[in-house]
Structure formats: structure tokens, C-alpha cells
Symmetry: C2
Subunit: 285 residues, 2 copies
């Protein structure tokens, strides 16, 4: 039995207007009729086609094409940005991927405009870039913790839209995803980390303090998504309590973006028969 | 039936002294008794342990450790540097890997010492860096095509040894591999690319011209390997006509290097029970 993925992604795209995250069920699996094992099988089945599409993008980039993909992953701690990456991006050739994890900005980075370090991390043509956190931190944590003046935060929404529009115009398809988990699910995941000695290194007591600001973060996400939910770079809110659904949804978004390029293989810019003859006529080396 | 991998890598390590590449069979599978299907199965079976060891290295790097791995892949065109990467490095979390493909240096790169761009591409602590071509091009193609004066090439062998020794001392384990194919195998692979329209983008007529310098390249490799075959950063010559053997050999070298670190999981630097209690006592968000 196979489960069609064609309806999966359309429901994840955020419609224009105000955003109400509380209205999006975090443990749902919209657009997919199957269960966990079906979802996992569907993602694995997508693997070879994802790998093929990624190689076409890479080949296009090596042959004068200007396209690239930028997958932006945002979400609260433990929402599974790293796990998504392993499960979906891990299906394609690692040479075709450039992953950047954004931490708190360094002193040098803070001395520049907030988009400076982001621009430096953009994927070259032909590659899939993945941002684990991104420029959106500069309107999320920056807003919640007042790391920048209100006017500066306001300016940033517009700056992001202009920057993303420019990027799209130059050939980069941007896929923006918010991995949406509930506060209860985060609590369960933090407790699971504490219960597992091999996961202690991932745990940070500060993450629990940050939970007190949960609703402020949700509000900051709602505002950020509404203000930057443009036609060229729309947002997707991914129900992420179910890891298998989260992975399948993002794998499908990546797949759909790559397939939309409709890329053939680059044509030879040399005489194929002549080259064969040269090799066959070669003197012994 | 299982095939032990413990004897596979020792025979690939180049002994000190002069190097005779012609004496190394390119289509052999030293140290492995099985056939193609056995070799492919053995590499896949290595996958989960490789992934586990890579995650331990990553966790160590996040917890104050200084270790990293640098896998250097060198070889003639079509020797399979990219394929090796896909098959071996593709088995671990892409977030734990940093891949750099070195092309002809840019004007800016040429304005610096040859090790400048190499140093910039080194893996951060906790990561596996992979070089597809490397600083060795500066004593290989540079020697064959006289891109630098003889004295400069001579200087570079010593500079490489000093640089690699420094790197090792700082915590980076260096695995240097020459993927060794025969001229006939290269010819067959080039012809196969010409026969397959989906591979034309990988073909460059200049590669055939370069074949006329085959023996000069082999000699340049022999000299480079002999001069830089140090105790801290020894060379491995990998018979690479058989793709499955090449992949298995390099996967095993990577595995052995990671396992030699003997890394446990980082201990918690916080009170685990206290953290559990805080989460359980939390007021509703």
C-alpha cells in the first residue's frame, strides 16, 4: 500500500494574515493517512529520488546554472532541527549540502549588520544549504530578551523580506520551516535527555529557564511568521511532536522544491564521438 | 558469514622508504577475503558503529574536547574521491562532517602561502573534515606542470610535514589516502562517462590530455608520499579499481581512527536529579 504525498505539503504552508500557533495541533499528521511505519517507509522511498534530484541540481550548478536551495529550520529547543537534518538531508550526497548551525553571534558578527554572517553562510550554486537556526533568531530571541531596540527589530522584518526577495531573484529557492512542538512535548524530551547518560551533553539547565518564556517565544514566532510570510519565501509550520511526520514533511518539501526546477542533465559542450575516438586511439601510456 | 576487518588497514599503510606504486596492484583487495557483495555488506554493517563513534566525537567537541579527524583523499581523475565520500562519509550525521573540494587556487589564494586556504578549511573540534584533493596538489600537479620553482616544491614537503605535525599535536588525527587506479581503469571510466548522457557533465576533454602525463603523475605521487610519510601522518595507498573495496577500506580507516579515541559520553556538569525535579515541579506554562 502506498501513501500519496501530493497533499502533504500544501496544508503546511501558512496562509497570509495573522498567525495563531495555538490553533495548529503539534501532534497531528496533516495530509498523510498512514501511521508511523508508513511515514518512515514513505521517507525512505523518497530517498533515491531526492538523491537524483540533488545530483541534477549539483550538475546544473557545475554547468552554468544559478540555482540553489536554502532550507531554514527554526523551532524551540528539542523541536528536532538536528534530527530532521540527519533523517532528510542525510538521504542525499553530503558533497551537495552545506549545513550551518547558528549560535549566539560572536563579537565580530555583532559588529556587522545581522544579515552579514547569514549572507556568508549561503550555499554556493548547485548546493542545498541548510540553516539550523538562522537570521530569524534576530527577531525571535532578540525580541523576547530585548537584545535589540524595538525599532531595530521592526526594521529587521523588512530587511529580511528584502534580503530573501533578492536571494530568490538570484536563483535560490527558500524553504522556511518552523518545527512546532508543544510545551509538554518539550518537557518530555528534556526529561528523556536527563534519563539517558548518552544524552546529557545535549542538556543545558538554561533551557529550563527559557521555558518560562514559552508564550513570549510563541508570540514572537507568530509575529515573525506573519511579517515575513511572503509569496517568494513563504513559511511552513510543521507539526513536530511526531518525529516521523516532521521528517516526512520536510523531506517532501525539499523534494518538491528540487522537482520544481525540472532539471535535465547538462548537455555535453564537447564532441562526444570525437572524445571516444581519442581515447580509443590513444598510444600506450 | 562475517569477514573480519582487523587486518584490512594495516596492509594499506605505506612503509617508510621509497615508494613504488607500480608494485601495488590496483585491482586487489588486500586483507579482505570476501567478494563484492560481502564487502558492500561489511561497509553497511559498519555504518551504525561509525555513526555512533562520530556522535561521540561531536559530543566530545561540544564538551571541551580538542579532537577532530581530517580525511585527505587524493587520486587521479575518476579514482573515486566523490564516490568514496558518498559511500563512507554518507553513513554518518551530515552535521558532523565538513567537506572541502579543492579546485585550482583563486587569485586571492595564490597571493597567500599554499597552506593558507588549507588551514582555513580545517574541521572545527568534534568534526570530521574531508578534503577532496588537498595541499598535496601543490606538490603533485604543481610538480608535473612546473607551476612552482623546484626549490619551492622542495620546501613544500617539509612545510607540509611541519604543518601536519602541528595539527596532530593540537588534536587532529590525519588519515591520508591515495586512491590508486590503473591507467586502463581510468580509460574505462572515462569511456563509461561518455557512454552515459547523465554523466557528460562530469567529463572534461582536458582529462584526456592529462593522461599523457600519467607516468609523471605517478612519479610525483611516489615522491610526495615518500617525503611526507611521517609517523604522525602516514600515507595509505588504497587499491581503487574495485569501488567496493576502496569504500570499505576508507570506511574502515575512518572507523579505526574514531575508535582509537576511545571516547565515552561526556559527563553531566549539572545535577541531574535536581534538573529532573525542576522540570517536574514546573508551574503550568
Amino acid at each position: 500500500m502506498s501513501f500519496p504525498l501530493s497533499n502533504l505539503t500544501s496544508g503546511l504552508r501558512v496562509p497570509p494574515g495573522p498567525v495563531d500557533l495555538a490553533a495548529v495541533e503539534t501532534d497531528a499528521a496533516p495530509g498523510f493517512d498512514g501511521r508511523k511505519k508508513d511515514g518512515e517507509a514513505a521517507l525512505l522511498a523518497l530517498g533515491p529520488e531526492l538523491a537524483d534530484l540533488q545530483e541534477r541540481l549539483f550538475a546544473d550548478g557545475k554547468s552554468g546554472g544559478r540555482r540553489s536551495v536554502l532550507l531554514v529550520l527554526q523551532g524551540m529547543d528539542t523541536s528536532g532541527k538536528g534530527g530532521t537534518l540527519r533523517s532528510t538531508v542525510g538521504l542525499v550526497d553530503p558533497q551537495g549540502v552545506r549545513i550551518t548551525s547558528f549560535k549566539a553571534p560572536t563579537e565580530e558578527e555583532r559588529a556587522h549588520d545581522f544579515l552579514w554572517r547569514i549572507t556568508n553562510a549561503l550555499p554556493p550554486v548547485g548546493l542545498i544549504g541548510v540553516f539550523d537556526r538562522s537570521h530569524y533568531e534576530d527577531v525571535l530571541i532578540a525580541r523576547v530578551r530585548s537584545l535589540a531596540p524595538t525599532e531595530e527589530i521592526e526594521r529587521r522584518y523588512d530587511a529580511i523580506n528584502a534580503w530573501e526577495a533578492d536571494l530568490e531573484a538570484k536563483g535560490t529557492t527558500i524553504i522556511k520551516c518552523m518545527l512546532h512542538i508543544s510545551a509538554d512535548e518539550q518537557k518530555a524530551r528534556l526529561l528523556a535527555r536527563l534519563d539517558d547518560e548518552t544524552k546529557h551533553w545535549k542538556y543545558n539547565p538554561g533551557d529550563v529557564d527559557e521555558r518560562e518564556r514559552w508564550s513570549a517565544y510563541q508570540e514572537a514566532y507568530e509575529i515573525a511568521i506573519e511579517r515575513t510570510n511572503t509569496k517568494v519565501a513563504p513559511w511552513h509550520v510543521i507539526p513536530a511532536d511526531k518525529k516521523w511526520y516532521r521528517n516526512l514533511a520536510i523531506g517532501t518539501l525539499l523534494h518538491d522544491a528540487l522537482r520544481s526546477f525540472d532539471l535535465g542533465w547538462p548537455k555535453a559542450d564537447f564532441d562526444v564521438e570525437h572524445e571516444k575516438q581519442r581515447l580509443r586511439d590513444e598510444k600506450p601510456l
